[in-house]
Symmetry: C2
Subunit: 523 residues, 2 copies
Amino acid sequence: MQKIYIYDSTLRDGMQAEGISFSLEDKLKIVEQLDAMGVDYIEAGNPGSNPKDLDLFNVLQEKGLGHARLVAFGSTRRANIDAEGDRNLSAMLAAGTSAIAIFGKSWDFHVTQVLHTTLDENLRMIADSVAYMKQHGKEVIFDAEHFFDGYKRNPEYAMKTLEAAVNAGADSLALCDTNGGAFPMEIYDITKCVVERFNIPVGIHCHNDGGMAVANTIMGVQAGAVQVQGTLNGYGERCGNADLFPIIANLQLKMGYRCIPDEKMAELTTISRYISEIANLPPDTKAPYVGASAFTHKAGMHIDAVLKAPTSFEHIDPALIGNSRRLLMSEMSGRSTVLTRMKRFDQSLTKDSPEVQAVIDELKRLEYEGYQFEGAEASFDLLIMKQLGRYKKLFDIKDFKVIADQPWQSEDNSAVAMIKVLVDGTEEMTAAEGDGPVDALDKALRKALEVFYPQLKKMHLTDYKVRVLDSRAATAAKVRVLIESSDGQYSWSTVGVSTNIIAASWIAMIDAIEYMLLKGDDI
Amino acid sequence: MQKIYIYDSTLRDGMQAEGISFSLEDKLKIVEQLDAMGVDYIEAGNPGSNPKDLDLFNVLQEKGLGHARLVAFGSTRRANIDAEGDRNLSAMLAAGTSAIAIFGKSWDFHVTQVLHTTLDENLRMIADSVAYMKQHGKEVIFDAEHFFDGYKRNPEYAMKTLEAAVNAGADSLALCDTNGGAFPMEIYDITKCVVERFNIPVGIHCHNDGGMAVANTIMGVQAGAVQVQGTLNGYGERCGNADLFPIIANLQLKMGYRCIPDEKMAELTTISRYISEIANLPPDTKAPYVGASAFTHKAGMHIDAVLKAPTSFEHIDPALIGNSRRLLMSEMSGRSTVLTRMKRFDQSLTKDSPEVQAVIDELKRLEYEGYQFEGAEASFDLLIMKQLGRYKKLFDIKDFKVIADQPWQSEDNSAVAMIKVLVDGTEEMTAAEGDGPVDALDKALRKALEVFYPQLKKMHLTDYKVRVLDSRAATAAKVRVLIESSDGQYSWSTVGVSTNIIAASWIAMIDAIEYMLLKGDDI
């Protein structure tokens, strides 16, 4: 099996993404993930342009890495000075990594119009910078910026820039589609020319501006590239970089290349979601291979077929990358999906049971109101329990009131909630403070109910999401709140919809508590 | 210029996406957009499996379309019955469209394992169904389901299914990568075989499970396909269908094909965002060509280069598809971006002005707290005005209190806010009811301030977004609220961050009002 070297640039090119800003702590967590995952190179920063990146390199040197090599990234020396006197190159050396990625211009237009120097001086800048790093004993990757755009306009000059790097001792060449607009066939043909011309390993670095970064990378590998540059979840400037997850999955699961250890493949889904947590961006549910919807079926016909034979509508077994199949509860999912879920409560139900129709009708009505049970299985189970007569009201809320004061006076506890509950004829009234009205209400509700149901002490909220359903109606818009709760062992999700965020949160909270109290061991 | 026929399936395959559920009204709006945009075919539903789709076809027949042809979609007849007696085929006829898409199995495995019939009967099912539709005078597109997977396992049989359709009179063949796992080179080679073998137009229908749907479609066209099937924004089951926006842009702006009228190209960005509004899904900011980040630059070095020469980091001129360049306000965007924005207030500022450094410092501090000014330019302008001494406090809030009652008692006005403002030594106290605490507060604040600033009557909120920043902290997590306001002529965006949703909304509301009152004509 041919080895493909995985070169991650999440901490450098990924940081260019709109909405992403990693702290030092975040970066350390990401490096740890990447190293454990088995990537070969981690490009951890550009110390010349971001001096803060040196802190990261210092910490990483002390910690040490397992398999991966750390890479410091930076440009060739500036025009008309010595490499020794260039502070970018000095900063890269100061990073203390064993490998260095030097990027230089391969597109004549950039040399004259952006760098404002001569084509010959640019070649010397490349050669000097590479040679300088080789003198310092570094592994040098030459990143040929805008290589494909440059090659298409002036192939001779583009090749000369690679030649300058190779002659100066570069260990490998990375061909960059920096503006992300190249086509798969172009990438294939041009990469092939380079692979045939030079005797050192060639890498491919694509961006997604044409929506083809993954395919372009695959075509580069098919043309002979052995190093793949990309980022986790495709984070990167504009439309993003090539996403390493589908690239690794495509290469390793389907094309017979080896990118990372086989036993790491089943961790990719978890890693992808963990990285989006760190990036504080919602995971892309549609993401190939690792997205929550990637193996999710909605159409009744497809669900039936997948239950008969998984490969009928799944290109791979989701377990191979640690993902899983989901059959959606929705109007379109059809009777059999609802029935499957309902049978967990009552094995004797059939497609024609009136209870099944009743649940489908209720589902349609609630979906129309803005509910979605696709991520709120516990609320859906409660709905089933109500239809099956399995639901029992365990408490009544007699009254509640939330008062929020101007938040600048008491920063942390700016809201107070009062609540009165009734359980088996006994009233309990409590109050609690919180960070805002929803938090205060949540605390007061638990405090009141724990008197009767001490097992609620084990329960806590682990996730809280707000989605504005019709944002054009501004502050009076409908909101959908999704809450995830846990008792330390299991976790479950509930949903509430209202024009009032307190009410929506309230509905989801009540469902979460009722589910915890009612679920028993059979769910 | 060669014409490529655009075949949209947003209303059929797009509806399979998780989280999408179009109403009849939604569908009519989408059809209107598609027709105006100049697509050639609109696949509007599957009347056999979703009888409600017939309502849509009925309404559309009365309204009539401009350029586009409507298509009804459905499967071949069931096994071992006559085409005349098949209710799927009858439902398709009842739709009254001039074109029909019939999908049939091209993968032997599906015939025997999912349909549970014989390979020969499947060929007859295809032939009978196509012939039946031709007898009724329809244009027939034969959708060869799982064609690429089928061809890879049993090329002879896959070709026979196409032959059955062609011999029965099909007008065109659409080759489907139904499971979305094919590779660009495979798509190219197999499509080429089909194009060379048959004399009727060939289409390509890709899914994104390998992350390569756009590229695969392009490769299909390069191999000779003249019809492209996809959906708006790539909506579709699992990882989605091929996204028509980047496909049309790639083909028409870069490869010299004609897909839609040239004058419609600059509307694509607007259409994409409108469709996500209808779908009630957040627009994909990273979407190639049409995403809000697609031409957004953050790195100082890239911003400098783009200002010198746009093509340096942009693969096309964003205006060609109605998108625009954005230079981000962020720690990484560098001094020149901040300076450009600040110069709108004071032309005499330079990179070295201490005010510029002060704004950068404040920006870093606030970003650390969770602020993001990337979508909140008005809040950023206020920050600049404060540093430049241009800000004037026009009102003080002396007190506010929000009371929220149990929402089930008064559905629409479940919260009340009281507020006291002080303007030029005069106090004004008001109260207002609202749908939840934020809405009540917004109404009370305006009511109080309109007494002093009647121009606020023209102002209204047009968008309200809530983002939970650290959802793991559940209801006590930090939230970021983005508000968009308008005075009917201009609109502006502001931001607030707090652990308390009322406080975060409050900060953004105050910014919005202050900006309206302070902006004058020079901004």
